[in-house]
Subunit: 478 residues, 2 copies
């Protein structure tokens, strides 16, 4: 993948050298020769990756890195620190400032290019999600997003695949002491068994396993649907650079060289865990947006839109299966008076409890939706013809038999509901509109002709209307 | 990126050879030695890419390809046909069956690997979207998706960057005759100007430009935000294979060799256009889901959820800017009677027109939402204190002055509205709940104390209540 790379170094020949190497690989290269210029270019140009020299006069690389990683609009841009320093403490300081990797001068070309390619690829994948998170934010679907650096890095689930017992033990001690939960396996087969059962935040894989090829294991983890999005960190020897490059190409996210330095391991692991959790959150945002599109915020029931889509599917299916579908249109009696007398807070509370009672008196595969205001619809799929009226009466009694606790002077309110029902036979091939309309006509009868707090069905309604005695008509202001 | 590759060939040594090459590059390889076995494995294993021999006894490669591409659950899996045939007609037949490319035996390793890598990368990017499209489908947010092969490939906008006038002309003739709209530029600079103004479905780039490096142009198109997702097809000479491989690595989607064969060009272009449109549709699905989460299906106004989020933001902002915010709570008078007398169809029509009139009498940055039922809220940000009452009266008159056309016996219905308004001063630091509550109290007064069809504000209401004369009280059944 092509990308825009910002090279930052105060020594011009260093800049030129890196620029030439990267241009030769068809990257678009931007350059800066001081920390201040770098910050200005990052802000303006939003590069895809930054190669950042550590030792610069004035603002050094650590400070530049920290500043970028603190900015929610820029924190997702990967940074590779480049330095002649070989001290582990410096390395860890860079990683803890949020750098994604640390390359030593003179730069190994394979290490550089495989690193850049890998980080650019990860960024591009994340960008797709980030762009949409922005849309979701603008529309207010989710809270203003925190950024990748704000993700928690505590208590991660880590799977370690390492057959050197002593090394595995040392890694476990280090990570367990840092709040993480570790599972250790010494072969790919055992690891796959574990991965089938549990979710992990990062998988650490030795590419020096004695009896199998660690890279092949990485490849397998990458091509497996279930583990495709879990970061992989490779453990390797210093002389494994070609294998490491290959591993990054395959899709491993990072690597650490033996002997493993405690703080470097912790810092690198945190980066991976942070990235994984950020990515998971972005995905979850989408799911939340979707569910918001289909449910009623007040009651948590499905909304009218969902009902209409699914009623259509249910009617079609039942026509095919030669079964009947019942549609109940349900209205709270005198609800307007509740709002007018006690205010919307009480009205909302009534709606919530009402919805709850409907749900509690239906089977899990019955469909219940709030159409708006005080109007609800229940769909009973695949019913025998005598059941809907029973269900309807059960729902009606569940409402009027028990006052609803709420903030009125009495501390509760007795309400009632009117229900109109239509049983749609398979051969009728009714549309959702027709089915709802038929239930609505019955509801109208229940309210106007039979004085509310009753169920009226198309046929049963006619039979019973003459000698119908509604039970326990409640008064609103009792 | 690692991936699962299915190799299909009836001659076992051919299978073994490809398997060895791919395994060496750390791909997970599956194999099949007949068309039937291939179909069975594709269905069961869902590989990331298929290398498919053309000449097989029984079911040949064309038939296998056609069958897979007709299946909505499998059509997204890229297929590379592999054959000893060199006839252009065969090549085109494969591409038209939906194959993504066509490699000739003996297989050039560079061509093979760069092709597989590129197609796998494109598939993975699309997979993210596909998975979520599935969620959206299950929830009924969008229509059951058609699949990639069902996308239209007509009337695409194509940008051609080619400095060989005669060749450019031939390509234009071919593509224009196939319904596409062509723009031709002979340099990168000119092309970028065009790309800044217009959207294209595919960009065709010669990598044999005389005065510039075509690959660098591809790289630039890939790293540029605006063109990152537009497919690139390279035009190259036979001996350019290393450059082609590099181009695919950079992110070009496909290539075609000179001399350009008319039908091959058309077939390859269709593949790219189809892919682009499929990808665009998947993206649009997400936007639709989001907007559904925030708007009211009946009126197209924002919903309660959106209002609550944004009212909070507006109040906070106005506190900061030291400006007042007005909140109007609006209710259609006697709306329940409309539904009961004329049915829900008329009620819905009234709500739609009502919403329309509110919108038409507000500024674009005023916020109007349907809270549910016949209740609406308007928020006027940054207002002087005398404006909200004027706006409120303008809205009220817009409703009651003009009957609403609908399916009543008269063909229209005159309705009215009551409005309660609160002006939230910056120093009050009111919450959205408090602001809405205050407007609601005024609305209650408008309806109960002043007999509807009027505006009541917190202060003005008190002043005017004594000598308030509502204008033109309409009767529902007039």
């Amino acid at each position: 993948m092509s990308a825009r790379v910002l090279v930052v170094d105060d020594i011009l020949p260093n800049v030129k050298l890196l620029e030439a190497k990267l241009t030769n690989e068809y990257y678009d290269v931007l350059t800066a020769t001081s920390g201040a210029e770098a910050l200005e270019k990052v802000e303006r140009e939003k590069p895809d990756i930054i190669l950042l020299d550590v030792m610069m006069p004035g603002m050094d690389g650590f400070e530049v890195c920290t500043t970028i990683k603190k900015n929610p609009l820029l924190a997702h841009i990967p940074i590779v620190m480049v330095t002649a320093l070989t001290d582990v403490a410096d390395k860890v300081r860079g990683l803890e400032a949020g750098a994604d990797d640390f390359l030593s001068k003179p730069i190994n070309d394979i290490a550089l290019m495989s690193r850049v390619r890998s980080l650019v690829r990860l960024k591009m994948a994340l960008d797709e999600w980030r762009i949409r998170e922005n849309t979701a934010n603008q529309l207010g679907v989710v809270e203003e997003s925190s950024h990748v650096m704000a993700e928690s890095v505590e208590k991660a689930n880590i799977l370690l695949i390492e057959d050197r017992g002593f090394e595995a033990q040392k890694i476990e001690q280090t990570l367990s002491a840092d709040s993480h939960h570790m599972v250790i396996k010494d072969s790919g087969v055992q690891a796959m068994g574990e991965l089938a059962k549990h979710d992990f935040d990062t998988i650490i894989v030795s590419i020096n396993l004695e009896h199998e090829d660690g890279l092949r294991l990485c490849s397998h983890l990458r091509s497996n649907e279930r583990t495709r999005h879990v970061p992989i960190m490779m453990i390797a020897e210093d002389h494994d650079m070609k294998k490491i490059a290959h591993g990054l190409e395959i899709g491993a996210h990072d690597y650490i060289l033996r002997p493993i330095e405690r703080n470097e391991l912790l810092a690198r692991l945190r980066t991976q865990v942070r990235r994984k959790r950020f990515q998971d959150r972005l995905r979850a945002t989408y799911e939340i947006s979707l569910s918001m599109a289909l449910t009623d915020g007040l009651t948590g029931l499905y909304n009218r839109r969902y009902l209409e889509v699914h009623l259509q599917k249910l009617l079609a299916k039942n026509t095919e299966n030669n079964k009947s579908t019942a549609v109940l249109m349900i209205d709270i009696d005198h609800f307007k008076d509740v709002n007018d007398t006690y205010g919307h807070d009480v009205g909302d509370e009534i709606l919530r409890v009402f919805a709850e009672r409907l749900k509690n008196n239906l089977r899990s595969f019955d469909l219940v939706a709030r159409m708006g205001g005080e109007e609800f619809v229940v769909v009973l799929p695949e019913v025998a013809d005598d059941r809907p009226y029973m269900v309807s009466e059960r729902l009606r009694l569940a409402i009027c038999d028990e006052p609803i606790p709420c903030k009125t002077p009495d501390g509760h309110l007795r309400i009632s509901t009117s229900i109109g029902g239509a049983i749609i036979k398979p051969e009728e091939q009714a549309t959702p509109e027709e089915a709802l309309k038929r239930a609505d006509v019955c509801l109208y009868k229940a309210k106007k002709d039979l004085g509310r707090n009753c169920s009226v069905f198309e046929d049963i309604g006619k039979l019973d209307a003459a000698n119908y005695k509604p039970r326990g008509r409640p008064e609103l202001d009792e």
